[in-house]
């Protein structure tokens, strides 16, 4: 009887990865791995280091320090072997302006030396209506779909999608999500970068939030909320005077920000104490509710601000005044 030992190696293993440009640490010592069949999202604002990290994994950039193995290959040194097994949509995907999606697929098939059925690929990425339109005349969504089709030409086991829906309208984004869900259903391992929280939540099994070149949180959305969220809290609509009153008459921690009094609840009964104090104050108060941090809240907290649709931080986070 022979004993077979099967070693399962994760498709992606990144350890202490660093990339430095002058004084800027684009990627500053990140470590993570991605399992087979998993959809893994790198989430963060522009300049967080997502694209640098993904391009190092794709073999497009050289790392300065750390270890990266993708499908068992060193992406920089063994790029030519790796590229036959992965599919990539780079950020701002583009193609020859005077070629159609169908021609693009046939071109890539020739380059990879594989036989492809263009009709099937075009159907898979929902591009049937525009497969004979020149690339320059395609909409943003159709261009991205062309990129998705090209990423599939060599039947890759691992896909890298760098901001696949940036700049697209909501309908086009949903269409791209549909295609990506289709890939996931086929069991493909997918790494995607995005600055859209909903995209990361909709598509990925696990998320790594990046900021200033570092991973500030990693795990499933629930795990991240659990680790970095503030837990349950009571929110009361009221004045600063009311906030002060509750603070003085209970032992609770009170945060006040723009008409909302926020009280972290260590136990449920704390809510009762807070409401009793509010009632006792004879001051006006409005709506009350209890809530937990969402991934949005955690993200805002971790990256110190909200990001707009282009991934830029639009306002710095303020946690309100602590009373």
């Amino acid at each position: 009887m022979t004993l077979r030992v099967v070693l399962t190696v994760d498709p992606i293993e990144v350890t202490s990865l660093k990339k430095i440009y002058g004084d800027i640490k684009a990627v500053d010592g990140i470590t993570f791995s991605v399992s087979k069949g998993e959809v893994f999202a790198l989430l963060g604002p522009n300049g967080a280091g997502k694209t640098t990290a993904i391009e190092i994994m794709e073999g497009l950039r050289k790392r300065d320090q750390g270890n990266v193995k993708v499908l068992g290959f060193d992406p920089w040194k063994e790029g030519h072997k790796l590229h036959k097994k992965i599919g990539v949509i780079p950020q701002d995907f583009t193609f020859f302006e005077k070629a159609t999606p169908r021609e693009a697929i046939l071109y890539y098939s020739d380059l990879f030396g594989v036989k492809t059925n263009p009709d099937q690929l075009i159907k898979e990425v929902l591009l049937e209506d525009s497969d004979k339109v020149l690339f320059e005349n395609l909409s943003g969504g159709q261009k991205q779909k062309t990129g998705l089709a090209l990423a599939l030409v060599n039947s890759p086991e691992l896909l890298f999608l760098d901001e696949p829906t940036t700049g697209l309208d909501p309908n086009a984004r949903r269409a791209i999500w549909e295609v990506i869900r289709g890939f996931k259903a086929q069991g493909k391992t997918i790494v995607l970068t995005t600055h859209y929280l909903d995209e990361a939540q909709q598509l990925s099994d696990r998320v790594a939030i990046m900021n200033h070149g570092q991973i500030v949180a990693i795990g499933t959305a629930d795990e991240i909320i659990e680790q970095h969220g503030s837990g349950e809290r009571l929110e009361i609509q009221g004045t600063e005077e009311l906030a002060n009153y509750i603070g003085e008459n209970t032992e609770l921690v009170i945060n006040y920000n723009e008409g909302i009094i926020s009280i972290p609840l260590k136990q449920k009964i704390d809510a009762l104490a807070a409401l009793a104090a509010a009632e006792q104050s004879k001051l006006d108060w409005g709506e009350i509710r209890t809530r937990r941090d969402s991934l949005d809240d955690v993200f805002v907290k971790l990256v110190s601000g909200m990001v707009d649709e282009h991934g830029e931080i639009i306002f710095e986070n303020s946690n309100g005044s602590n009373i």
């Binding site: 497009l60 950039r61 050289k62 590229h83 780079p90 950020q91 583009t94 193609f95 020739d110």
Partner: protein, 373 residues
């Protein structure tokens, strides 16, 4: 390992894109033909006013007095005619070969003992070289005959037959017309402009839009990518060449020779300028700078390398500058093959062009990066 399948595929997709872009097609094929029609029509009248005539004076003395040097007096008389511009040739040169090497059709040889024969009244012949099909041949013969008559009259002896006679020797070199220069010049123009501008633009744009990065994720190599561009521009250049030759011959009755010798120039030329364009596009930071540098490299060649006017018609200092330009050797080579039939000269040009092309091609491949460090 270079793959012909990948080169062919890249060639197909690039060529199709090029043909769909009417602008590129216009500049690649139609524009040079338009230039031939315009310049050919403007200068279709005649060749240059004075005719270059090579003179070898074999009668170099010694003479006891300067007055006895009749050969020099004869040359001075020819010079003062105003119709010919005499170019002296050393008496040690083989005159026929010299004419061929200098792609010249008109020449005069004054034999040894010319002065002595004249002074002693013995018959002596001046040899006039010319191509009977060239319009200049008759002018040169007429001028020489006029001076001979003048000299014979001075030594008037009613009993003697003319002392100085004239023999004619036919040479194969033809006196060229402007359009004969113009066709190789504009083929050179076409070899330069299309690949150069296109590759400067493509390589800087693809760098900016990260299309190169994308291609680096496929098995296509840098060498294959550049090779397919070179093949495309060789194809375009040959098409453009055939169009220009047809227009030149049928519209302007150009006298040009089509031989197998043209092939290396039509291959190496586009290869050289595709590579140079790529080099410029690669070393510059953005498409705007690439465009400016591309123009700085291209424009002097476009005007100084013999595209629109023969180099020999330019001042010497410009001719010296022209010799530093790679296109000069392509156009000179094309002229040597198509117009003068001077294959020794063409070999020299070919060697120079080959060395420059190989150097630039390798430099472009080396400097050009798919990926970033």
């Amino acid at each position: 390992m270079v793959s012909l399948r990948r080169i062919a595929s890249d060639f197909r997709v690039f060529g199709r894109g090029y043909l769909r872009n009417k602008f590129g097609l216009f500049f690649g094929l139609i524009f040079p033909v338009m230039l031939i029609l315009i310049f050919g029509a403007i200068f279709s009248g005649n060749s240059s006013g004075t005719i270059n005539v090579y003179v070898q004076n074999q009668d170099i003395g010694p003479f006891s007095t300067p007055q006895m040097d009749i050969a020099t007096a004869f040359i001075n008389a020819l010079n003062s005619s105003g119709t010919v511009l005499l170019v002296p040739v050393n008496d040690t040169e083989n005159f026929s070969n010299y004419l061929a090497e200098h792609s010249a059709s008109d020449g005069i040889v004054i034999p040894q003992g010319f002065s002595e024969s004249y002074l002693t009244g013995q018959q002596v012949n001046v040899t006039v070289y010319g191509n009977p099909t060239a319009s200049t041949s008759g002018i040169v013969s007429g001028t020489v005959y006029g001076v001979i008559t003048q000299f014979n009259l001075k030594y008037y002896n009613p009993n003697a037959s003319s002392i100085i006679g004239m023999t004619s020797t036919t040479v194969n070199t033809e006196q060229t017309k402007y359009v004969d220069f113009l066709i190789p010049g504009l083929i050179g123009f076409s070899i330069l402009v299309s690949p150069m501008f296109s590759l400067v633009n493509i390589s800087s744009e693809y760098k900016k839009t990260k299309l190169f990065k994308q291609l680096s994720l496929t098995p296509l190599t840098k060498m294959e990518w550049l090779a397919s561009k070179v093949i495309w521009y060789v194809t375009l250049t040959v098409s453009s060449f055939l169009l220009m030759v047809l227009v030149g011959i049928f519209v302007f009755d150009a006298h040009i020779t089509l031989t197998i010798w043209l092939i290396p120039f039509l291959i190496l030329g586009p290869m050289l300028f595709s590579s140079l364009g790529m080099l410029v596009g690669t070393v510059t930071k953005n498409p705007e700078t690439a465009g400016i540098i591309g123009n700085i490299v291209t424009f002097p060649m476009m005007f100084l390398a013999g595209t629109f006017f023969p180099i020999s018609s330019m001042p010497q200092y410009l001719q010296n500058i022209a010799q530093l330009l790679p296109l000069y050797y392509i156009i000179e080579g094309l002229n040597n093959v198509m117009v003068y039939g001077n294959y020794n000269g063409a070999i020299v040009d070919l060697v120079v062009v080959t060395i420059i092309t190989v150097f630039i091609f390798l430099a472009a491949i080396r400097v050009f990066k798919w990926r970033e460090d």
